[in-house]
Subunit: 313 residues, 2 copies
């Protein structure tokens, strides 16, 4: 099935546009989980860290799998635990997939030609190794940074198309300094002047135009921050066939009202990510303590689904 | 020692501005190396791939360590071999460092806030894991993509400063489509119109201005492609305190003449990367065959050093 059709099917089935960000931090993982992992690897701190992360993620995934269409592990929080962290990343993707979730590898990869192809094969495709076909970090989709231009994105699109996967290209990000480059006014010599992110938005819409699924969305999505609702509204109008991955909800300040402009009619065309607010919900839950971190995450997702159901109109 | 002073010391000592790109491709690794690795891991193709890559890199590093200041492994070619590939990446960095080489992790990472900090700690700093301080993929420097703006780069700079490390921010890349974003004309409403890469160049120069070493260069370098000599000349003038990492020499079409504008007086201010042309030099060497791939790489580096000695004036 086309990447976007699969995602939309799950959004409809679960009546949820929430993506749970799996951004583990060892120091916030409940003590019981950390201790169990450490007991398994008493001589190897990194292996114990990887194990703790995977156990923690498994708890979260089990608690939310029936409630949300997608999860998004942020790879930086796995790379920081070295090879064992990367193993936890691979295991997390595999486990989430087995639970019927769409997976987004938030890796913001970018490079050119055969190098970009190597990344694409690592995350969306497969690699031939001594005659075996292996998919080392298999995800349904990956985030990609567009600074290198078309030949830095095309290899990801090619591999995505071949394997029924997708990508999300950074367009307008949720952070405070995102305007440093993204808001620069471009287009002179008769062209209409507009901010850089609109140019990138046009690129992204056109890059996906020849691979649109039955539901009307392409395999090339866009990252559009919840913290810039006016810009999101403009981009939504410019990019009718592009699915938005919307970070910045909750902890970063984005509200339900802020994410509304990211959606097309009927709650289509966007998913809203929340990481810390969900996975560490136990820190602020009145019902559940640290040991019940998974139940706290479920409680938080239920309330997000309730808050966001307005998008379905 | 300051990152830039250390790099310049090695450039002077070896009279070389060459950086060897370690971009292994399993299918091009000589059969003897591949077979030895496979014999060690007959049941695990990925482990064998990781072993083959590390053995191959070790051969290259041993052959060129006395001739060049730096090596640059491109992480995509390691990620594509999964966890075993990442182990080979870590081992390669460690081995290169033990041979006195400056290491550049070509990872083009980019993210914001605590996520960028996680990347920075993984590659330039250290991570506390169950009370142990670990540096999972320790390199002297990393490449970074600037699309997210200042708060996407600052965490890398903070960690670099703390640990005497450096970074290279993409400014004007060597690929054909680099102009899609990087050449867009920006600056309206009274500002002087100029291409986006110049704006990024200004940012990079200013981001490093408060951490300049004794030799006059900061810890924040720039990636400037050999394939755009006129743009490089402009950037060189705009960014006197920034070290350029120059890809695109050789296989991608950049010539000695093309890289000259990247240098300040006396051969300072830039290093020129070559990957495939060096590590797979055996493919075109008249003297050395596949089994002597390391000698072929050494031969190629000697000829590059000879060609490029003109930069020292």
């Amino acid at each position: 099935m086309h990447f976007s059709d699969n995602l939309i099917k799950k959004i409809r089935a679960k009546k949820s546009v929430v993506c749970v960000g799996l951004d583990p931090r060892l120091e916030k993982i409940p003590a019981a989980v950390r201790n169990a992992a450490r007991a398994k690897f008493p001589e190897d701190a990194m292996a114990a860290a990887g194990e703790a992360i995977f156990l923690f993620n498994k708890g979260i995934i089990d608690a939310v799998a029936d409630l949300v269409p997608a999860v998004k592990p942020q790879i930086a929080f796995y790379e920081m635990y070295g090879v064992a962290g990367m193993q936890a990343f691979a295991d997390t993707l595999k486990y989430a997939k087995s639970k019927g979730l769409v997976t987004i590898a938030d890796a913001k990869r970018n490079d050119i030609g055969s190098t970009a192809e190597a990344y694409a094969n690592a995350y969306l495709g497969s690699v031939s190794v001594f005659g075996e076909n292996v998919s080392p970090f298999e995800a349904d989709s990956i985030t990609v940074t567009p600074y290198l231009g078309w030949d830095g994105v095309k290899p990801f699109i090619d591999v995505a198309k071949k394997h029924g996967k997708g990508l999300f290209v950074l367009v307008k990000t949720s952070n405070k300094s995102s305007g440093d480059l993204q808001d620069l006014a471009v287009g002179v010599g008769g062209d209409k002047v507009h901010p850089l992110y609109e140019t990138v938005g046009h690129f992204v819409e056109s890059w996906g135009a020849d691979d649109v699924g039955e539901e009307g969305y392409s395999c090339v999505g866009a990252v559009v921050g919840a913290t810039y609702p006016q810009q999101a509204a403009k981009l939504r109008a410019l990019m009718p066939e592009t699915i938005f991955l919307v970070p910045g909800f909750g902890a970063q300040g984005g509200t339900v009202e802020d994410v509304l402009p990211c959606f097309n009619a009927g709650g289509m065309g966007a998913i809203v990510n929340s990481s810390r607010d969900v996975i560490f919900a136990y820190e602020s839950s009145k019902t559940f303590g640290e040991a019940e971190y998974a139940a706290a995450a479920r409680e938080k997702v239920l309330s997000m689904n309730e808050e966001l159901k307005v998008v379905f109109g």
